[in-house]
Symmetry: C2
Amino acid sequence: MPAWEGVSVLGVGTTMFGKQPELTGPELVRQAVFEALDDAGVDSVDAVFAGTVFGAPGTIQRALQTCGIVEVPIITIENACASGTSAFHEACRAVDSGAFGNVLALGVETMTHHFGGAIHPEPTDREGRQGLAMPSIYAMSASRYQSVYGVTDEQLAMVSVKNHQHAVGNPRAQHQRVVTVDEVLESRLVADPLTILQCCSIADAAAAAVVGRTRDGLGVRVRSSALRSGALWDHRSPNVWGWDIVASTAQDAFTSAGVSCSDIDLFEVHDAFTIGEIVTLEALGLAPVGEGALLAESGHSALGGPQPVNPSGGLLSRGHPLGATGLAQVAEVVWQLRHDAGSRQVDGAVLGVVETMGGGTAGVDGNGCVVAVLEREDR
Amino acid sequence: MPAWEGVSVLGVGTTMFGKQPELTGPELVRQAVFEALDDAGVDSVDAVFAGTVFGAPGTIQRALQTCGIVEVPIITIENACASGTSAFHEACRAVDSGAFGNVLALGVETMTHHFGGAIHPEPTDREGRQGLAMPSIYAMSASRYQSVYGVTDEQLAMVSVKNHQHAVGNPRAQHQRVVTVDEVLESRLVADPLTILQCCSIADAAAAAVVGRTRDGLGVRVRSSALRSGALWDHRSPNVWGWDIVASTAQDAFTSAGVSCSDIDLFEVHDAFTIGEIVTLEALGLAPVGEGALLAESGHSALGGPQPVNPSGGLLSRGHPLGATGLAQVAEVVWQLRHDAGSRQVDGAVLGVVETMGGGTAGVDGNGCVVAVLEREDR
């Protein structure tokens, strides 16, 4: 069902990632969109799907008018952390259906104006009412996971060490510095066992992709994408939070693309917290349940290893400006598949996967997940 | 382009409209969705497009899980006041493309928890920084319009009188009472010349429609829908705020459906303020520019007249819970075309139009408009 025929990413663009309170949402959008249009070699698009979680009404339309994108349909999508990837998925579906020619997928978030620290849970949110902000939910997952599978604090920390190492090669990442296991473990405790270097930080950024019909010699093909809602976790599930929805969505995307996890050369996944990457990689099929922590420890998921994960630095080190994250992941995979990723290039990359999970703070009740399979076109 | 083939509304549902702070967003969603599913005679859908402006992340997903709608793609759309109609448009497009079978279009807003009075302009908004909340923008339009076309305060007020009269027949409307021209003009001044009975009030509500393939003898066909962004107003335009985008979007929808304005039996349009209905009806083609105020005065747009406008009471009297409004308009047109609208029935209605304009407070820079043409199936 979500297999696309002749759908490609023709161009991508992003801003810098980090705290940039001096830039407004529209200013960030302009930077990313102009880069993506220029990269695609087009000066207009036929429709826009834009992801943002806390963006004010009108932000996208206002920004795009100043980019010369007027009158075309603009759909602004809120799907929590998966907002940007949901916009990308909808853009692919729109091109696949023949409804539009070139479609802009866009994500933006200005967080430093909204949040001093962690995102506030909504007052109507069940977990929120119990004090369960996102770090707490992930921390409970991590505790259970450690208890069941005997994973150590050091093994959790190694995910952060790996992704910070990767970000050193990404000139647009928020945290471009090496950290050690000791530094990670000794950094401020946020929610036991997660220290602050195991939590993504708030950021301001935008990212964009131009999606269109496949043209010879240009761009990166989108083999498939899948979007599911609900079932982030079920109290009857033997798995920890997030596993279930990632597994079912990934299965959709892999089946549609006719690939298996072992075929994939690199992954950009939702490592909002270290435990998140571990659980996600198990759900994607890189390791059996309970063995996901070995992937960072062994170097399997590091640059230079057989299946690098988050070569951009991931949410932990590139930063996690909610709505922008999905398109930043797409941009990274596109650069990698074009063999244009500089010092963080995954050698000979042909197939890449983007995975984003959106949980809101209504985590238990579910929200959404998107998984997309992208392929270098000259394969 | 936006002409749909074999797309129908199979069922609709709404909550009551009004201040209902005791009900949460998910509770409102459940009421509307269960009624729509029941009305359509289906117990599941293949995808969901939901409109909300200020809904907290996760609201839609949480609500739908309790309706038994799980795992399917859910796309939450924010397109200001046109959020609900944008969701409806996207649902129609999804069915038309063959991507899904039955699709739920949904809108919800809980405003009484967010706003004590008028919606606050966003601090990054250009008009907002100058104090231009929505009533001020519409008031400036009204002043210019009155100055250019010699329209009186009484003529403005007659739009409110008409729509309040209509709402008396709508048991779900927020304001089910007759008002006189004098009462309208003597009510509290909000922004000169607009008094409070010429301004829609905040409300809490949800509304939903099940969109699917046309089935003999059931439902109402969607002949076309169109969505445009931008160009709400241009300082070079001879028209007042809102006219330009409504006119171009309506032209798209009418051309695609192969109908003209004079063919339409009833309209549900965006009368957020009295001047809004006047300008919108001119943009739709019911009257030449400058003569829209005559439609209410002459009874042309009243129930019993040749082309009733807002038989539900419209935004002015049914209420305007932002994200829910578009689907409430769709529900009203569907009930009318089924000849199931009780004492407010438009006799023999065959063709109906829904129009919603989304302005955010970034009005001048534009946002979006949706126009849809619906038809009784046994025509």
